[in-house]
Symmetry: none
Amino acid sequence: MKAELISIGTELLLGEVIDTNAAFLAARLAHCGLNLYYKSVVGDNLKRGSEILKTALLRSDVVVINGGLGPTADDLTREIVSKVTDRRLVGDPALAREIKAWFQKRHGAAYKMPANNLRQAVLPQGARPIRNTQGTAPGFFLELGAKLIVALPGVPGEMKTMFTESVEPHLKSLAGGQILVSRNLNFAGIGESSLEEKLSDLLAAQANPSLALYASRGAVRLRLTAKAQSEKEGWRLIAPWEKRIRERCAAYLYGTDEETLEQAVGLKLSKAGLTVSLAESCTGGLIGHRLTNIPGSSNYFLRGYVAYSNEAKIDDLKVPRETLAEYGAVSEQTARAMAKGVQSRAASDFGLAVTGIAGPGGASAAKPVGLVYIGLASPGDTIVVRHNFSGSREQIKERAAQTALYCLWRAI
Amino acid sequence: MKAELISIGTELLLGEVIDTNAAFLAARLAHCGLNLYYKSVVGDNLKRGSEILKTALLRSDVVVINGGLGPTADDLTREIVSKVTDRRLVGDPALAREIKAWFQKRHGAAYKMPANNLRQAVLPQGARPIRNTQGTAPGFFLELGAKLIVALPGVPGEMKTMFTESVEPHLKSLAGGQILVSRNLNFAGIGESSLEEKLSDLLAAQANPSLALYASRGAVRLRLTAKAQSEKEGWRLIAPWEKRIRERCAAYLYGTDEETLEQAVGLKLSKAGLTVSLAESCTGGLIGHRLTNIPGSSNYFLRGYVAYSNEAKIDDLKVPRETLAEYGAVSEQTARAMAKGVQSRAASDFGLAVTGIAGPGGASAAKPVGLVYIGLASPGDTIVVRHNFSGSREQIKERAAQTALYCLWRAI
């Protein structure tokens, strides 16, 4: 079944609000086994809203409208549905009583409810109300032969509860039981196009599950989505594909779904009972910030130095003054000395060091913006890798931090 | 002029990604004086993408397409535009060279770039490329009589830079007429509702400019928006309002528009010729990360310690072992010793220290999650302030960092 999403609200078109409802609804529709093909946003305008709904009803089976159900004159969803489906608006006395009761519960029995709230007790003829236990705006279902309109309020908390409690069971029964099950595999240390080459035969052979690659904030993700009659069957379809990809990409695949690289690093360190300390120059504390976003990180992260100045590198990390003088702060030699220095000072198993030029200043012909050395002192040996990152100052910091965490993850 | 926005990407329809680009683009289009009437999202599908673009070109003057410009076979924006406008796709040798150079810069001259990246050097005939200095996917303008297509990549950082540098000037010249001029005033150290009370008379009297308060990530912002025939007229309308607000809120108003608190801190330190060093416990490096996001921060930020363990606090910051034993790591006494310790060790003018319980573990009845002490050693004296922040681990870290930077900003 084809689903379509319409968000109504001028604030969404002015860029003042980020439409997080859309992501929630999209994910839940997919889970219910509906294929979401289109999503539209339109302002609080009767003509344009009607036009969008008319188009949606021609090409989709289920149209979910989000927003425009409030009490004020610019909340037009009821009018839009009435106009497009040619059904007049009728007051629902039971709804009116519920809305009044909601206000009295909230503000006391003596409270005089603003009259405009009764607009919310009016529905297109034939519509079935969807109760809102958390606010005053009810939603509604309207069936039109084989097509279905679902209208929900825009307030995220109210919409989510109503969708989960009332809409989802109905949609699942309509979709005939077929649902979508998804797993994301998260990669680091490899680019989107290199990963595509590595998996080209699998990507070409995909059917159910489908495979989709995308990049987000320094990580690359592969999404496997199976259509199935049940969750269990979905996972059974995904499993052999996931296994082949894991075997082929073990060096880069650090986690699944919402798992971050710092979580994967923390998990490995905890399991192995090992510790790490940090010597950050150009990343300025970002790696420490990411590691300490993980609850319990104090068990394996001992301490960090943001050694921004040469004096700090000498004083805290025991980088020899001559190394800095001969090779400079951004050099293989300095990265090595920083990594070993912090490992020894913190008495940690690993010492991870980053020194580089985040720009825009500080570069020379021999040492351009984006040049970063990552040093890792392990129990056995110390390695240093040279990188040339591109982008803005913040992107270079982000990429350096991501790559440094990846080095550590590989080494544990 | 009527504008329309099309976001392309199956991930947006599966609800895995929140479309933050849309809010950015909507706000910038409004600023350019364009009326955004429709926004659509469609998956990576040639037929449905073409259908959406065809409709958009019938009803809007400027169509901005976001996403679908990557190197892989499911990046279809080029093909969609080619099909709908009936222009064949032509390779642009200059773009191909730029893309190759980007990879060589990143991976060295010997690197063999995956061939699929050259898909990005192909554009519909007559299109004018929009340079991407931060990635490989160029965008493009395509003029069709009085209509204009603008295609931009989906990666937020790349898209935003390209829009600001290349697209905005062009759209402003097209729009010609009435524009919106906006200024954001950024506040720290005060909550949204307290600020609303302070400004209630002004908020009630607003007309042109309009005033809107909103909270975003630990900061509170007030947006003044004037409708005017020119930028100059817009600023003239805003100026007297801004002046009154500045006079009333000087202790909290640290900057305007995109200015961050760390920029404001950096500016004050630079002007005064003063330096700072950091001793971070629960913020884990976040304050250092924020300070070093500012180019030139090495002039005033000397070094930082992420003293996560007691040993680090004793060893690096000379916190007396007895202080830790008697009062604990999260205490006024420890925060004071950390601030003075780092100030003295780094020989900086200011020493800023944070120690607290970010949770979810580590709390007790006397020391709940969210308890944070911020210490600031200044040339004259040392102060410590106790805070109780709420929220998740990451929110507590964010609020502690923001408040610590605010303390420093006030003191300089």
